[in-house]
Amino acid sequence: MMILRSLMREPMHGYALVQHIKQRSNELLQVEEGSLYPALQRLLREGLLKAEWETSATNRRVRTYRITPAGKKHLEREMSSFERMLEGINLVLSPLES
């Protein structure tokens, strides 16, 4: 979901995506950088992303990922259900009213 959200803003390649997520989460999310790739492959397979080889600004051959319309729809669905879940958690965890 984080990947799809990040790619909503702009297409990115793998390394950039890792850096982006790290920054956005204020380095709170410490994951192995490599574990991004299996996740990307799964999204590719499900048709939520597509990938193309391009030349980056730093003149490097990179594989850029874009979100597809199906990916957008999926993200919206996921976001709303995630928000509902958060809402639920908030309600349960909110201070008890006496």
């Binding site: 390649h13 793998g14 390394y15 890792v18 192995e32 950088e33 490599g34 574990s35 790739y37 299996p38 990307l40 492959q41 799964r42 590719l44 397979r45 990938a51 080889w53 490097r60 051959r61 990179v62 594989r63």
Partner: protein, 881 residues
């Protein structure tokens, strides 16, 4: 994207992925270098933060695969490579497995054909075998029905769509002056309808065909083909048989057969024959000769049918006490169960035995795998160390063993095919359907299932063992042979003990059967079966009068007696151990009983010289001679058991009885007992003594007797001379059922011979496998303990010490196995008791002999590795280590 496209584009996807990851690492490295790290440091940091590159690539690829299936495939490819590298091991294991799986599959195919395969009739589960219960005998005692009883059952029941009768017999087909004796069944008009099969040509039988004067026949496909060259317009034609004209109703489809016995009937005739004459069989309530089958109505249970018919039988018993008093209830059983009932225990025994063989095979191969596994323990430790999960190792090992067992299974099918093909020839003909045994789809499925199951069974223990080993420990010990894990040896020893125990069970079982079989063969049948030829001929009953019939036999016997090589010739009925038999009731003079309560015993016929030719001893009085002919006084000879039963403590000679059978000259005269002869085994070598009485053939022409000809050499050599003599006397008299007395005896012992033969085969396999297992374990142990043995010898142990150390170990293992085996056998052999003759299932001699045999084999198997250990040169050994 469909999955097929994926398969092709996958290579591209995978290379993209690894390139991409490579790029990622480079970019990261550059970024880190830009922060001031050295290149080396940067590369390492990049890799550290990225995680396990290979693993990530693998997981990335997995997104595109069917993970389980593909990794199994990869495991399988790897396993095949592994096995190929170690061909000797693989072949040993596969051959062992082929033996076990092949034998199991072969026996299953017999079980499948005989017991499981449904009868070849539509809705066969509703076909029932019916009989009346004889309450004068203990237990279940089925008795055939008479025509009037059958007609009453047929008309009065409410639970069957139809009841059909059949009774076997022979018939002489005449064509172009030649005659041919055929097996025919006499059947009710609805016979084919009840079975649910219609003729392919012509019409079915009709009710009128049961009436006198309407002699009708149905041809079997094979007779139609062989004798009538598949004439399309055969239906409606007439054929001469037994001196009468029969109308052909039609032809049954190819392969149709009922009853399912050997030989298959060549034709079926309507019961019109039996309905003819002054006092036809169809109206004799005392003439119980019919077998009956019925087709149950839908939603009627066997129990309901049984009570329905029992009600009718009960009424008949009250209505006709003279004939039916003891038959007051009915027996109903599914036809399939009925025809397979007798063979069930035997086949179950064989299946049990072959399963035990399979278990030994599993234990054996498991032992092989264990030994091999310990050689590979460093390989697996290495895999574990570089990240293979325990489950992955377990899976890899199981895939290897399943591949082994599948190869074994494939070889096993080939073996089973050969076994079934060969053993069908050896098999007793009296097991119904066994000649059809073949490897079909369900047998193949069974083979596959057994292969998979055995693969998992023998694979799981070693795999579990190996996946548990601590990698660091194993890597350290890997190349050194000192510390073979104690636990592993214990498992391996356990396997060897189990094999020995199961092997002993099989040995004891087969030992018991062999001893029992030898006892059967040593039974004195009461006559001398060596060099005696028997044959029957059908002298047309209407063609010759009573007088002529006897003269025909007398002349024929006189001719045959004069042949060179013939010691004596006579005729009698029935031939011992043939299918023929009859019982007849009689009254004893001076002991009046109510009608219906008269005693009934086995009945025989004899011509003069019969007892002498058969070498049945005469115990008192005289045998039949010329004086017991047409004009002589009515006479009878009884056997020892008869005399003991009816005249205990008295002299039976001169006593008079009145048998209820006779021909049209001697209807039912009172007969004087003129002689007492020895008992013979009439039904089989294992049968008990049975009272029997013999009438002189000349005074009771009721069936065609068996010629018995004793020769000095091979009795079959005079066969053609006898045929020629008969043809010379009367061309229209066919000769049939030509066989030696020894043939009859060997046929009667076919089933025990077959069981003994197979079980002994299995036991031999088990013995060999047990020996191989023990040998394998000890050899492995010697290799494992090379260092220890070398040290011992260096420290002064003698060769003999080493030798005895290994042999002692082997002997101890065998002893454990044998001990367990004896205990198990003592329980299990009880299951055999029904098949044993003359010995108890816990026969101490058999137990002792097999135990000693197995222990000896164990010692021999231990000696080879022990000898090898003792021959080791301590210096070389120590240096190598």
């Amino acid at each position: 994207m469909t999955w097929i496209q994926q398969l092709f584009t996958r290579r591209k996807i995978f290379s993209d992925l690894s390139e991409e990851i490579q790029q990622h690492l480079e970019e990261k490295t550059e970024a880190l270098m830009a922060e001031g790290m050295s290149r080396q440091e940067a590369v390492r940091a990049a890799k550290r933060e990225f995680g396990n590159v290979t693993r990530m690539q693998e997981r990335g690829r997995e997104a595109w695969m069917w993970p389980l299936a593909e990794s199994l495939w990869a495991d399988a490819k790897f396993a095949v490579r592994q096995l190929y590298k170690n061909l000797g091991f693989a072949l040993t294991a596969i051959l062992t497995l082929a033996l076990g799986i092949g034998a199991t599959t072969a026996i299953f195919s017999l079980v499948n054909t005989v017991l499981l395969r449904p009868l070849p009739f539509p809705e066969q589960s509703r076909l029932m075998w019916l009989a009346q219960q004889d309450h004068s005998l203990p237990g279940v005692a089925p008795e055939a029905l008479s025509y009037p009883d059958y007609f009453d059952w047929r008309a009065q029941n409410h639970t069957f769509i139809g009841l059909a009768s059949y009774t076997g017999g022979g018939i002489t087909l005449e064509s172009g002056g030649e005659t041919q004796r055929l097996d025919a069944e006499e059947v009710s008009a609805n016979f084919f309808q009840v079975l649910g099969v219609s003729p392919i040509l012509g019409r079915d039988f009709r009710w009128e065909d049961e009436k006198p004067g309407n002699r009708t026949i149905m041809l079997s496909y094979s007779l139609w083909k062989s004798n009538f060259s598949s004439e399309k317009d055969i239906a409606g034609k007439t054929i001469r048989m037994d001196g009468h004209s029969y109308t052909v109703a039609g032809v049954m489809p190819k392969g149709f057969q009922f009853p399912l016995e050997n030989p298959a009937p060549a034709l079926w005739k309507s019961i019109a024959d039996d309905a003819e004459g002054k006092d036809p069989q169809t109206s004799q309530r005392g003439f119980d000769c019919l077998e009956v089958i019925g087709r149950l109505r839908a939603e009627v249970t066997v129990e309901q049918a049984k009570s329905d018919l029992s009600l009718i039988a009960g009424n008949l018993a009250r209505q006709y006490p003279d004939n039916n008093k003891q038959y007051s209830s009915a027996l109903v059983e599914s036809e399939l169960q009925h025809i397979t009932g007798d063979t069930r225990p035997a086949l179950r025994l064989l299946f049990g035995a072959v399963t035990l063989v399979l278990l030994i095979v599993c234990a054996n191969v498991a032992g092989l795998l264990l030994a091999r596994g310990s050689r590979r323990s460093s390989e697996f430790a290495l895999r574990a160390a570089i990240g293979a999960s325990r489950a992955a190792i377990l899976r890899q090992l199981l895939v290897e063993s399943v591949i082994l067992s599948l190869c074994g299974g494939a070889a096993g099918v080939a073996l089973a095919y050969g076994l079934v093909h060969e053993s069908v020839k050896l098999m007793p003909l009296n097991i119904p359907r066994i000649q059809d045994a073949s490897i079909d789809g369900s047998v193949l499925m069974f083979d596959l299932a057994v292969s998979l199951a055995t693969g998992l069974l023998f694979g799981v223990l070693p795999a579990w063992r190996m996946s548990r080993s601590a990698p660091a420990q194993a890597l350290r010990d890997g190349s050194r042979g000192v510390a073979g894990g104690r636990g592993q040896n214990r498992i391996h020893s356990g396997l060897v003990i189990a094999q020995t125990a199961i092997g002993l069970v099989l040995l004891v079982g087969s030992g018991l059967l062999i001893r029992s079989f030898v006892r059967i063969l040593n039974v004195d049948p009461g006559f001398d079966p060596k060099n005696v030829l028997t044959a029957r001929m059908r002298v047309p009953p209407d063609g010759l009068s009573h007088d002529h019939n006897i003269q025909f036999y007398q002349q024929l016997l006189a001719r045959i007696s004069s042949f060179p090589g013939v010691l004596s010739a006579s005729a009698g009925w029935p031939a011992p151990m043939s299918q023929s038999s009859a019982t007849g009731s009689f009254g004893i003079e001076g002991r009046p009983v109510a009608k219906g309560d008269e005693p009934s015993e086995s009945l025989g016929l004899a011509m003069p010289g019969y007892f002498e030719t058969m070498r049945i001893p005469l115990l008192a009085g005289r045998t039949f001679g010329e004086q017991d002919g047409l004009k002589g006084a009515p006479s009878v000879i009884v056997n020892q058991a008869f005399a003991n039963k009816y005249f205990p403590g008295e002299n039976p000679l001169g006593k008079r009885i009145r048998p209820g059978v006779g021909d049209d000259v001697f209807e039912h005269p009172v007969r004087e007992i003129v002689g007492v002869v020895g008992d013979i085994k009439r039904k089989g070598l294992t049968a008990g003594e049975e009272p029997q009485y013999f009438l002189p053939y000349a005074q009771a022409v009721i069936t065609n007797p068996y010629l018995v000809v004793r020769t000095s050499g091979d009795p079959l050599l005079i066969q053609s001379a006898i045929r020629a003599a008969v043809r010379e006397m009367d061309k229209s008299v066919p000769v049939y059922q030509v066989a030696t007395l020894e043939d009859y005896i060997s046929k009667s012992t076919a089933q025990p011979r077959f069981q003994t033969f197979l079980l002994t085969g299995f036991a031999s396999i088990a013995l060999i496998l047990a020996a191989v297992g023990l040998y394998g374990l000890l050899s492995y142990m010697v290799v494992q303990r090379t260092l220890e043995i070398g040290l011992r010898m260096a420290l002064g142990a003698q060769r003999a010490d080493v030798l005895s150390m290994i042999v002692r170990r082997g002997f101890a293992l065998s002893l454990f196995g044998v001990g367990a085996g004896v205990a198990i056998s003592a329980f299990i052999t009880r299951l055999l008791s029904g098949m044993l003759f003359g010995i108890p299932p816990t026969d101490p001699a058999t137990f002792a002999a097999t135990t000693v045999l197995l222990l000896l084999v164990g010692i021999v198997a231990s000696c080879v590795p022990a000898y090898r250990a003792a021959r080791m040169d301590p210096m070389t050994t120590l240096r190598d280590q």
